[in-house]
């Protein structure tokens, strides 16, 4: 069946290439049937991509090692779930997933906005198809998942670190996030190409952007959870370039989601929003390039990589094309509305935008600098955590403060007296929390103490917003407090869903500070019967045990755990030796205390022949708030994305236009 896979990809490539060329010609000349034909070609490309994907999935499930990709990424002993997940475990498969998701999402956007993409923004089809053509080209001629060879008896297997449940969900969500940003990008560029300065592209893509941003955010946290449990160094975010690759577009998309509200409410920042969405999309391509080109191993592996130079070329094309289009349409984008006051909601959004973009660009520089250094000077350098931590604090704390102040400031303008009255409670609570924490000894980490104080400030503003809003709704005639609360959220889902997302960011901050500023680490070599003390915990080594699982030999150190002298259970930390992959992975043991939010985290670093074990044990305070933040973030995003029937009725009326034929 590899022939069917190759043929399906070739058909898909032909279709998206046709959609690009015919679509561009149709949009340029105003040809209706040709544009519909181009649109159909794009939809058909999704079907062809789905056929190619099914062929690969069938080959994976059937252990068809005549496919080089299947032999390189699976083995007979690999459990079925991970065997199927190998679809995105390698370069060719993940490119196919990119292409499948891209054609699927853009097809859905075209199908859900038929009139808009057919008549108002005809350039959406060729722009979306142009992006898809690049991936189809790679899949057909550079990195095909359907290369065949003489089948070996067994496959190489999947990297053991990828054999983790979080890796089943993390890559698809990440790609939904990366690829999802294609939709607002294609619509935004189509609006520019079609000379449309109105809000239609924003309205049509608002939920797509939110969905992509949510997927990216959840994927980042799932990746962190995977790193925390699987990589086993005891932390949750290491500023690794692969992690940063997803963080950068998320930060820029966050800035875009805020600034686009100013465009909707004030008709301002149209140039800035076009730049932001182009930057977010460019960074999603850059992220894929980083993870897939081999450039992170060394600049040499990049130049030897089959897809690296193609990605650089495509990235340059996207950057140049977007910049040219934005510059070309500057007269159309220039706003007639000005910022009325530096003390206003829109000004707060603007400051927050600047910090978010500055943080994204700082992270970008940290990722790019080692590559540039190695390429130009031939010297491999590493940009370590201190660089990122410095800028995360320098830009992150103002973002947290603005996150607290922003909702308290009125749109257009606010007097300093009103603002001071709004700030009284949050500032008072923040100072009280800071003083209490200092008295409790939290001054051991000054940055942590400041962070917690700022977090208390932001969290109080959110609570205050909900409380005052509910009170106002009650005064406006709501029958009960729950009804007032539900009306408050229901009538302005974007605002109050946004506040829930803000609460998630505060929870994330609390967890990150907990683990980063107040964690405890101890290392010791124990023989059976010996114990070690870490914070409130005492761990006693009971012995070691070995067993053989389906695809690995497992060795574990068995530990009895006591807290403040009382037994709280046992843990087993160790290593797995995978047969097919000939690799060893760390299997950490984690005891989570959900009430306190802390984890006891045990790494068995070394097993000695005399029965002793070298252990590294960490107490990670509040780390579980990071994962809780993911759930709250998802809840807030869903509230924000939930359709508003009243708004949809109003928009339907606005855009129910009596179209006139274009001049010939």
């Amino acid at each position: 069946m590899p022939l069917l896979g190759r043929a399906a990809l070739l058909v898909a490539f032909g279709l998206v290439l046709y959609a690009t060329i015919a679509g561009a010609y149709a949009a340029l000349r105003g040809r209706r049937r040709l544009l519909e034909s181009a649109r159909n070609a794009f939809l058909a490309a999704f079907a062809a991509a789905a056929v190619a994907s099914l062929v690969l999935l069938a080959a994976l499930a059937g252990h068809d090692f005549s496919f080089a990709y299947v032999a390189d990424h699976t083995s007979r002993e690999l459990p079925l779930g991970y065997t199927l997940a190998a679809f995105w475990g390698g370069q060719q498969g993940s490119l196919l997933l990119w292409f499948l998701v891209l054609t699927g999402l853009v097809s859905a956007a075209l199908a859900l906005n038929p009139r808009l993409t057919r008549e108002v923004l005809p350039w959406t089809v060729p722009i979306g198809a142009g992006i898809a053509s690049f991936f189809a080209l790679l899949l057909c001629f550079v990195a095909s998942p359907f290369v065949t060879h003489a089948p070996p008896a067994d496959g190489v297997g999947l990297n053991p670190s990828l054999q983790n449940p979080y890796m089943l969900a993390h890559p698809p969500l990440l790609y939904l996030g990366y690829v999802g940003l294609t939709v607002p990008f294609a619509f935004a560029m189509a609006a520019l190409a079609s000379r449309r300065a109105d809000e239609r592209w924003i309205i049509a893509t608002r939920r797509w952007t939110l969905a992509a941003w949510t997927c990216l955010g959840v994927a980042i946290l799932l990746g962190s959870k995977w790193a925390y449990e699987e990589v086993g160094w005891g932390g949750w975010y290491a500023w690794d370039p692969v992690e940063n690759a997803a963080l950068m577009p998320w930060l820029v998309a966050t800035a875009f989601l805020h600034s686009v509200m100013i465009q909707e409410k004030k008709n301002m920042l149209r140039v800035w929003n076009s730049v932001l969405i182009a930057l977010a999309f460019g960074l999603s391509i850059f992220g894929t390039f980083l993870t897939r080109s081999g450039v992170l191993n060394s600049i040499h592996s990049f130049t030897e990589s089959s897809i690296g130079p193609w990605f650089i070329g495509f990235l340059a094309l996207v950057a140049a094309g977007s910049a040219a289009l934005i510059i070309w349409r500057l007269p159309l984008l220039r706003s007639r509305t000005k910022l009325e006051s530096l003390v206003s909601r829109e000004a707060a959004f603007l400051y927050n935008n600047l910090f978010l973009v500055a943080l994204a660009l700082t992270v970008l520089w940290g990722v790019v600098y080692p590559l540039v250094s190695e390429a130009i000077r031939g010297v491999a350098v590493t940009v370590g955590a201190p660089y990122y931590n410095f800028f995360a604090v320098a830009f992150g704390l103002p973002i947290i403060v603005l996150m607290g102040i922003g909702p308290l400031v009125a749109w257009r303008r606010a007097s300093l007296r009103s603002l001071a009255a709004q700030l009284a409670w949050p500032a008072g609570v923040a100072v009280a929390v800071g003083v209490l924490l200092a008295l409790a000894g939290a001054g051991s980490s000054p940055a942590g103490l400041v962070g917690y104080t700022f977090a208390a400030f932001a969290l109080t503003t959110i609570v205050q917003e909900f409380a005052r809003g509910t009170r106002a709704r009650k005064a406006l005639g709501a029958s009960s407090w729950p009804s007032a609360f539900s009306q408050l959220v229901g009538r302005n889902r974007r605002r109050y869903g946004g506040y829930v997302v803000h609460a998630a960011i505060v929870l994330l901050l609390l967890g990150a500070i907990g683990i980063g500023g107040f964690g405890t680490t101890r290392e010791a070599k124990l023989v059976p019967g010996n114990s070690m003390q870490v914070g409130d915990y005492r761990l006693e080594l009971l012995g070691t045990a070995q067993r053989r699982s389906a695809n690995a030999k497992e060795i574990r150190a068995r530990l009895a755990v006591f807290r403040n002298g009382e037994s709280v259970g046992s843990l087993a930390a160790g290593k797995n030796r995978y047969f097919a992959e000939q690799q060893t992975s760390n299997e950490v043991a984690i005891r989570s205390d959900l009430l306190r939010g802390e984890d006891l985290f045990v790494i068995a670093d070394q097993f000695n022949s005399d029965g002793s074990v070298y252990l590294k044990v960490l107490v990670n305070p509040l780390v579980n708030l990071i994962w809780l933040a993911g759930l709250v973030f998802l809840l807030g995003s869903l509230i924000t994305m939930w359709p508003d029937a009243r708004e949809q009725r109003r928009l339907a009326g606005r855009f129910a236009e009596a179209e006139a034929p274009a001049p010939a």
């Binding site: 069946m1 069917l4 009103s418």
Partner: protein, 114 residues
Amino acid sequence: MEVVALALAAMLALGCVVFVARPFLREPEAVDDRIRVAGMGEQERIRLEEERDRALAALKELEFDHRTGKISDTDYRESVGALRSQVAQALRALDAQGHAPDERTKADEVTVRV
């Protein structure tokens, strides 16, 4: 196996070609093959409705911000007049174009005045 794969590939390609050619097969001789676009008048209507909706939304926000204490009485009085005149201007311009406000907009106006 290869024959089956080839047959399936050919069917896929054929199906795609038919689907792509469908607009031309359905209308071999189109009476009007031009993409229908909004005329200048329509674009102006959309612009005015966006302005009207923006001003109405801003008025609602202003009312709510006033109720929740974010805006002082003085600031409220200063802003509300300007926003009401923006709504009125947009409505007058839409009236002049012959576009009556829909029920939703009327309801919004009443809410704002209350």
